[in-house]
Symmetry: C2
Subunit: 337 residues, 2 copies
């Protein structure tokens, strides 16, 4: 029988469900410890999910105590956002692998520190950028990697969310981080992942006008990226999806290549290329799961779709884009080369 | 019976069909003179169209002769592109109303001169930016004007064309003008027309890589516009639409407002808003025609959808975007305020 792998969960802001939805692929995993990331956050939901799965984790009062628990090999961190990087660094120092909600840092100084601490450690690090595992996006990406559209030249990536009712921490830049890092990280990740190219520069804009009283929260944003080989990308972000819409998000990508165009729209994949007589819908499927892939990489069984370096690059891109929007000027990459 | 209106046609690069398709709405119009804009250009097609419609125009050898024809009240100009502004200015001086293929000028110096000559004259001036009259785009714009999506916040506008086989003048910047002014003018016009807002700045990029040997011709481009009231727009342009695709162009616009989102895609109009229970397809229709509207404005019967000032503003936006792409830096508006 395989050795047990003990994991701890910190916080409940964002997407701890990535852990729970992967558990059926991970019989070796035991959730042995949980803690709230902040007094504001209720982890009752996490307790309930653990009970349902048959775990009886220790409930710590303090994240440092959990991170000092010598049995824990992996920690999954989900908020408060402004503590992501320092909790991750503490985990690195204690030899714990880290699966962290994005953004993994709320400013470039924290990101630089996180990067250097990661490089000094010997653990795996990845983030909850789970949309690489979405069936439609994974299928489209696989087609691009197989060369079905030739060389990638242009990318349009879109996230459009319902605003709904959000906790107070969304209203402050210091605790939310901004819409480009929070909503945009997925779209920026698609740009990087589909293009397979280094970022060169970004010019971005964001607006807090018409934000229904949510303080600092930007409800619209656009980013213009230049990547190597004169690949260009546009990222469109908004919180204006009507509450009446069928789905929470209207996630899209359109990738133009030298021999075809592929799109994800409404959960479906559309391909038109020089080799096809007409546009085709490609059946969408992905047999991999984000957190299972993370654990399998920790175990040395396989590599996940999302490396630690990918997480650093995409986080840098989001934070530079946010700064570009704050300062209304283009900014240039080169931090982690 | 209504007085006759005599019009002359110069050149056959671009879209003289806008004139011919409107003729059934314009019984007063007589095509009385035609001329080729350049030795390279064959106007045999124009002659054939005239014959079909029952006109026997004088065929001039020289554009100056046509523009000196005292009977002509209106001229429709379609190439060579690099002569658009000087032919238009000559027409203004001769008191002739001008309907001109876009772009109406290939650089900002020419555009400034054209603008000042227009202001000194007393004729109507407009351009072949006919996609305002496309049924789907007109229907979507009408819905936005009625307030169905609230305040406009974000716009994505797309033109994706087949490259096909093109005459040699497409291969030189000096005769083609560039893909942002040529293909992009429609998309930039949608941005301006749907937002109903002044441009503030533009950051753009374009590329000649993988252009199938077409010299200076840019095959991909993206433009990031900031407009007043923190409205943002992205324009995506490419010549990579596969030859096998059902239509020449994949024209789209997506407009995000504070109360809904409207889109044109594949000639159809999609609306989702706070007031609708689900996304709706709106029947697309437009009962107006570009050149008929132009003539009706000359006759004082009605105003067209596209004013001379619109043409100057959109041309300026295209030429500034091209310059931004050439110089890899943001540029700011304010020329015609």
């Amino acid at each position: 029988m395989e050795a047990e792998m003990k994991i701890g969960l910190i916080g409940n802001r964002g997407h701890q469900q990535y852990v729970f939805e992967s558990l059926h692929q991970l019989p070796e995993v035991q959730i042995t410890a949980i803690v709230s990331g902040s007094e504001e956050d209720d982890i009752g939901e996490i307790k309930t999910w653990c009970e349902k799965e048959g775990y009886s984790p220790v409930v710590y009062d303090d994240t440092d105590e959990l991170l000092a628990d010598s049995g824990i090999e992996v920690v999954s961190i989900a908020g408060p956002f402004e503590l992501h990087s320092q909790m991750s660094i503490q985990a690195f120092k204690n030899g714990i692998h880290v699966f962290c909600e994005k953004p993994v840092a709320l400013n470039l100084e924290e990101l630089d520190l996180l990067h250097s601490e990661y490089q000094q450690g010997n653990v795996h690090f990845s983030a909850m950028m789970g949309l690489r595992y979405d069936p439609a996006f994974y299928t489209a990406w696989s087609a691009v990697r197989r060369g079905e559209i030739g060389q990638v030249r242009l990318i349009y990536a879109q996230k459009s969310y319902k605003l709904g009712t959000r906790p107070e921490y969304y209203s402050r830049r210091s605790t939310y981080g901004g819409t480009i890092p929070w909503v945009g990280s997925h779209a920026v990740d698609w740009v990087y992942w589909f293009s397979h190219a280094q970022f060169v520069s970004v010019t971005a804009s964001h607006s807090r006008l018409f934000n229904s009283g949510y303080g600092d929260l930007e409800v619209s944003a656009m980013c213009h990226f230049v990547l190597q080989d004169e690949i260009f990308a546009s990222v469109s972000l908004d919180y204006y999806r009507p509450e009446t819409a069928r789905t929470h998000g209207d996630d899209r990508v359109r990738v133009v290549g030298t021999q075809g165009v592929i799109e994800v729209r409404g959960g479906k994949v559309y391909l038109i290329s020089d080799l096809l007589k007409q546009e085709q819908k490609i059946p969408a499927a992905c047999d991999r799961m984000l957190f299972a892939d993370f654990i399998h990489q920790v175990e040395g069984k396989s590599r996940s779709l999302l490396s630690a370096e990918d997480v650093f690059t995409v986080t840098e891109a989001c934070l530079l884009a946010r700064q570009s929007a704050d300062e209304s000027k283009p900014l240039y990459f080169g931090r982690y080369e």
